[in-house]
Amino acid sequence: MKIYTFPDAKRRNFWFKKILWRHVVGIFVAAFALFPLLWMASAAFDVTGQLSTQHLIPTHHGLSNFSTLFGNKEKPFLTWVRNSLVIAFSAAAMQIVIGAAAAYPLSRQKFRGRKVTLTMILIVQMFPQLLAATTLFLIINSFGKTFAILGLGHQLPLIFIFGGGALGVNTWMLKGFFDTIPTEIDEAATIDGASHFLIFSRIIVPLAAPVFVVTSLLSFIGILNEYLITSVILGLDGRNMTVAVGLQQFIYGQYAKNWGPFAAGALLATIPVFTLFIFLQRFLVSGLVSGSAKG
């Protein structure tokens, strides 16, 4: 294909009229988008650790904020990281397993009550668990009176809360994806004598792997980000907290004092999520966009 090229003068003119201002807008918006990230990174390496004297390029840089952060015995950052990972991994895994299991019959089988089930899930989605935080607290409190490990201050009930809300979170998205897998494949497998469980585990799940990547990542980040229910169930005891709750307790009302070490912790917690996100953004973007285009 031959590409039509402008004469030089015309091309420059075009660049000025149509391209230049786009770059100007782009740079401003980029500055806005990156603003807190840049200052967070800069504060993490600024050895003065002060909010009031911080410059974007720190004049004295070093790693002292990190050692302060790790040296704090009352605010055990590494324990928080471990708590966060345990909770987010288990709950996200639970969400995916439950969501996929529920999406399979809803996508593949005709049964009475299918429509009702789908509508009910949609309605439940309208009422986020967040709103019932008060009663979740009371319920988990009464759980704890019979089974200590299911009570307040333990991770297990929190995992069940996040994992248990799964049906309202992922089912529609997964069902939508399962619908795009041709039914001929499982019909053929049925004729060959495969059971429904074999079809689900050996055919549908492997074919839907990309959408599992997206939903599990979104679930994982969503749980890491949760503050309200987490703080209510785990309480504000030093060793129990997650990164999100712990860093909030660490910095709240003490911006002047703890800014540097806080930024160091925030940066450490951001890096893995950020990398994962940028690495998988292609999937995420196409997932969101195809979701929107379908209406």
């Binding site: 391209i19 786009r22 770059h23 807008v25 918006v29 980029a30 806005f32 988008a33 603003f35 807190p36 200052w39 909010l51 009031s52 969501g99 299991a101 529920a102 399979y104 809803l106 089988q109 049964f111 299918r114 089930t117 439940v124 309208m126 009422f127 668990q129 709103l131 019932a132 935080a133 008060t134 979740l136 607290f137 009371l138 319920i139 019979t146 089974f147 069940f160 248990g164 809300g165 689900f200 980040i221 980000n225 503050y227 309200l228 990164v243 999100a244 860093l247 909030q248 910095i251 800014w259 925030a266 951001t270 950020f274 953004q281 969101l288 966009v289 979701g291 929107s292 285009a293 209406g295």
Partner: protein
Amino acid sequence: MKVRDLRAKSFKFVLSYIVIFALLTMALRFIQNRSWFLGFFFLISSFLVGYIYTLQKKVPSKYLLPGFLLLFLFHIYPAVFSGYVAFTNDSNGHQISKSDAIASIIESSNIPASDIPPIEFRAATEDSTKKLFVTFQYPAGKYWVGNTSTLREVGSANPTGFTILNFSQTQSMANDLGNIQVHMAGGLIFSPQDFKTLQAGKPVLVYNVAKDELTNIESGVVYRPNNNGQMVSAEGEALDPGWKQNVGLRNFTSIIQNKEIRKPLLAVLAWTIINAILIIILSFLFGLCLALIFNFPRLASKRIYRTIFIVPMAIPNVLSVLVWAGLFTTQTGVIDRLFHTDIPWLTDSLWARIAVLIVELWLTFPYMFLITTGAIQAIPKEVVEAAEIDGASVFKSFRMIKLPLVMRTLAPLLVASMAMALNNFGAIYLLTGGGPTFPNTNGNAGATDILISYTYKLAFNGQEGNNYGLASALSILNFILVGGISIYGLRRMKTMEGIN
């Protein structure tokens, strides 16, 4: 093949029975502890598991059951339970049943029983459990060994199975010893006074079941239950703890009638709605403009820009909001220093609201940018070209063709975003804590509080104790608000689809 089938089947049965057994055990434990609902729930669950996985043959229910049981227990039941708590006075000091509350009041109304002289005791540990006990003689000739939870009559002063501690060992247990209260018959309580003697105490309050009142046998003061689950004397002296009881519509009427609650609540409600509407409009317009500007094929670096624009989505929100809060600090914060201003962000009502909007815009515009880009790219090229051939201006082709098409695809997502914006707890609570606080208000309501953050404060951060009942009543209000807007949005969408 057959062997494999058989193995799979037997594995399935064994697994089902293990689950059924576990659920039944849990049910029994809950029933033992008088948690009726939970016991009932686990009982039903175990029957359902048994029926669905071992008796019937239908496939869909086998896949749906685990999800539904968990959804019910951790999502639907809490929501419905809010409806119940909203009609009670559940709050700090009002969490136990009436009989437990009265027992607790009586037990703590302990005064020294002057008619019983101090009793000698020796500390001992049980050999099997290593738990601390006291052993004593009361009345003469009757030997006892006991601690707070247990009391046993024994044959002699040196009971078998126990090791008597010597004086220095006893001293080293001082803390544990101080907590021991032995409950004897007749309401008497023996507690260590020093390392050698027990002091006898007896309750000064006596409960009369028929009249439902407590009487102080020394002063003669009578306490009767008031309408808020507490024993109160005629002079207004209240005894703690109170108990949980049904208060009917009082939580709701107090929202309307009590000025201290109503005034801040109306402000909070207004800001909840205004904030949600403003942020949806702002961030949708911002995202749409960016999508139009950067969906330009000849812009070579548009992919780099797109990656940078979605950075806010890649940072854990909780952390980025906390960073923003630092940057917004007046004077010493980066923003004021950068622009050489002295703006009371976060401490002045108006500026705090602006700061909230800025942060929410930062959090939400990447999503809006992505979905509008997707929607614009999904518009068939022919439609736009046809408009251009017909001589439509850029603006007109946007307004008459692109915008309606974009709106149609995005309407459901916008409704969902609206529902999220109504409950954006993190962005507000972590940035401003809902503050600056209105003066003289119940439960700390502030200028940037939305319903959910105000509810959280009432339930878990209250100045006058945690009020779960009132918080649940507000949750119900919030449920209605969010549900109403979602349903309205969905219905609007349906009519829109009908027109197009």
